[in-house]
């Protein structure tokens, strides 16, 4: 590759620049901040602005004091609230992922097997809500679920119930909200995977006497494994740390770790505790993210 005189003088190639700009940006604004969160999680809470005590203090000229404070972590492990919130978040994320797959898989399958023209319309209909504000779409469920909301009004009008059901601020409402918000995230990777499927394989299996359901379980399902895993990760990982949906639909008692982090930070101004919560969350989620990345790498390698 030829280099211009200027580039040679600085000693950097155009190619280097293409890589360096996004690389340095992400290093500074995505990677480095985690080191700061880690450092903060070992600081002590203080009544000050900003509300923590520095970890490293220089005394006089040559004496350096580093106080590693493990209290935040000790606090998280002894107070039952945090452990429960962690387990509950994992449970909620897991159940939501299963429901997203149960609803999303047949939809993605149906779209992939539709005629080319219908397929495009069906895809646009999946993408449309994805582009609309998540906050507003969660808000829509408040209108449906509340005591004088749409669902209760319709059921009372039909005579199915006489007194309004309590749906808003229940775990049920929270699950519906999460599944609803993340459904497009499962359908799209599943569709991308199923679209490449060689349907002749399934026909062959059926011609050889496999029943449709057995052919699906033995051929289609294993072949769409990567799509299932990618879709699940796209739901599970962000759902563990979800804040908006539990707050708006789950009510004040919904025990989710994302809400706890938010409250520690904004309500209690306990930055070090919030940081410790974030670090524990990362310990759980980073292995999953790496797994997701390896699945993605396999998918793109398989495509080309």
């Amino acid at each position: 590759m030829k280099r211009s005189r200027l580039q040679r003088r600085i000693g950097i190639s155009g190619r280097g620049l293409v890589v360096a700009l996004p690389y340095l940006w992400l290093l500074l604004f995505f990677a480095v901040p985690f080191a700061i969160v880690l450092k903060m999680s070992f600081s002590a809470v203080a009544m000050a602005i900003p509300p923590y005590r520095p970890l490293i203090v220089w005394y006089a000229k040559h004496a350096l004091e580093i106080k590693l404070n493990l209290n935040n972590y000790a606090f998280l492990f002894t107070d039952k609230l945090y452990g429960d919130a962690f387990l509950n978040s994992i449970k909620v994320a897991f159940v939501s992922t299963v429901f997203c797959l149960l609803i999303g898989y047949p939809m993605a399958y149906g779209i992939a097997r539709a005629k080319a023209k219908t397929r495009n319309i069906l895809l646009v209909l999946v993408v449309l809500p994805f582009w609309t504000s998540q906050l507003l779409r969660v808000y829509a469920w408040i209108g449906l679920f509340k005591a004088n909301g749409v669902i209760n009004n319709v059921l009372i009008r039909l005579g199915v119930i006489h007194n309004p059901l309590t749906m808003l601020f229940t775990p049920f409402a929270m699950y519906v909200g999460i599944v609803y918000s993340y459904l497009p995230y499962v359908i799209l990777p599943l569709y991308a995977n199923l679209e490449k499927m060689d349907w002749q394989l399934i026909e062959a299996a059926e011609d050889l006497g496999c029943r449709p359901w057995a052919a699906f379980c033995k051929v289609t399902l294993p072949l769409s494994r990567n799509g299932i895993l990618a879709g699940s990760m796209l739901v599970f990982i962000p759902a563990v740390g979800e804040f908006v949906i539990p707050t708006l639909l789950g009510g004040p008692n919904s025990l989710m770790i994302g809400r706890i982090l938010w409250d520690e930070f904004f309500a209690n101004r306990a930055w070090p505790v919030a940081s410790a919560v974030a670090i524990l969350m990362l310990l759980l989620l980073v292995p999953l993210m790496m797994w997701y990345q390896s699945i993605q790498a396999r998918e793109t390698a398989g495509a080309s």
Binding site: G14, R15, V18, V19, L21, P22, Y23, W25, L26, L27, L28, F29, F30, A31, P33, I36, V37, M40, P50, I103, G104, P106, M107, G110, V124, L125, V126, L128, P129, W131, T132, S133, L135, L136, R137, A140, G143, L144, K146, N148, V150, Y180, L183, M233, I237, P238, G241, F243, T247, G258, L261, W262, F265, F266, A274, M281, L285, Q293, Q296, A297
Partner: protein, 274 residues
């Protein structure tokens, strides 16, 4: 009709009903005269009075203006960074830091927003203490935060678009003596233009809708539209928010339908040309 297609069609019908009933109910009740929102006031509805109210709500208009500034700057910035990263990952098979760059552009897609928001805020506080910048948090810090996760989405879109085109045209141009810079602008850029446009729109929407990261990194007097909406919605339903939803849905529908028609046409043209 086979049993399988009946099953699939009912699954699709259920799925789309689930996706669209909440959206449609918001739209319908934005024309309801009653302040209770979900109790239809047949005598005075449909009405446009809440549309009128929304356009005279200074708090919402001010927040929308801040959101617009952040979203526009963010979209342009993250398209540049994301295109560079996507190009590097798709076209340079080996370079130092390739794995890290790939990981750093995948992780923000799934990272819970509370973590991204907290970590960026702590970075800004640490920077302020050590080098005095940023002196105050607000629009600028929000743009930086939004660009960090938006560029990851742009990278994915651009990278996958480049992966579907082989390098032969670019290589041919370079063999004929064109400089890499020229090849990029004359050949690569037109090819990935639909992806860049999609990335720009995606980045704009992500920023326009963002609540969590903005709440952590904004400062006094710079509340974005989602922040104002969230504080209103926490107190219950409000007819103005329904109107806002109706307007958002109308804009998104026009854009998505328009862009997909445009892309379909471009692809048809590309196919007939090939």
């Amino acid at each position: 009709m086979s049993r399988r297609s009946i099953f699939l069609i009912s699954c699709l019908a259920f799925g789309y009903a689930f996706l669209y009933i909440p959206i449609l109910s918001m739209v319908v009740f934005s024309f309801n005269a009653s302040r209770l929102v979900t109790v239809w006031d047949a005598a005075h509805s449909p009405t446009m009075k809440w549309f009128y109210a929304l356009f005279h709500d200074d708090e919402i208009l001010g927040a929308a203006w801040i959101s617009l500034k952040v979203a526009l700057t963010n979209a342009c910035g993250s398209v540049i960074l994301g295109t560079l990263a996507g190009y590097a990952l798709a076209r340079f098979p080996k370079f130092k830091g390739r794995f890290t760059l790939s990981a750093m552009t995948t992780a923000p897609l799934v990272m819970p927003e509370v973590i991204t928001g907290l970590s960026l805020l702590l970075l800004f506080v640490a920077l302020e203490q050590t080098i005095g910048w940023p002196a105050r948090r607000g629009v600028g810090t929000m743009i930086i935060s939004h660009m960090t996760f938006s560029m990851a989405y742009v990278t994915v879109v651009v990278r996958s678009r480049l992966a579907t085109f082989d390098m032969s045209i670019e290589e041919a141009a370079m063999d004929l003596g064109a400089r890499p810079f020229k090849v990029f602008f004359l050949i690569t850029l037109p090819i990935i233009l639909p992806a860049i446009l999609a990335g720009w729109l995606l980045a704009f929407t992500l920023s326009w809708d963002d609540l969590v990261t903005s709440s952590f990194t904004s400062g006094p007097g710079s509340s974005t539209l989602p922040m104002v909406v969230f504080s209103k919605v926490r107190l219950g339903v409000s007819p103005e928010i329904n109107v806002l939803a109706t307007l958002t849905i109308a804009a998104v529908t026009l854009l998505v339908v328009g862009v997909s028609l445009w892309v379909a046409r471009a692809e048809r043209l590309a196919k007939t040309a090939a």
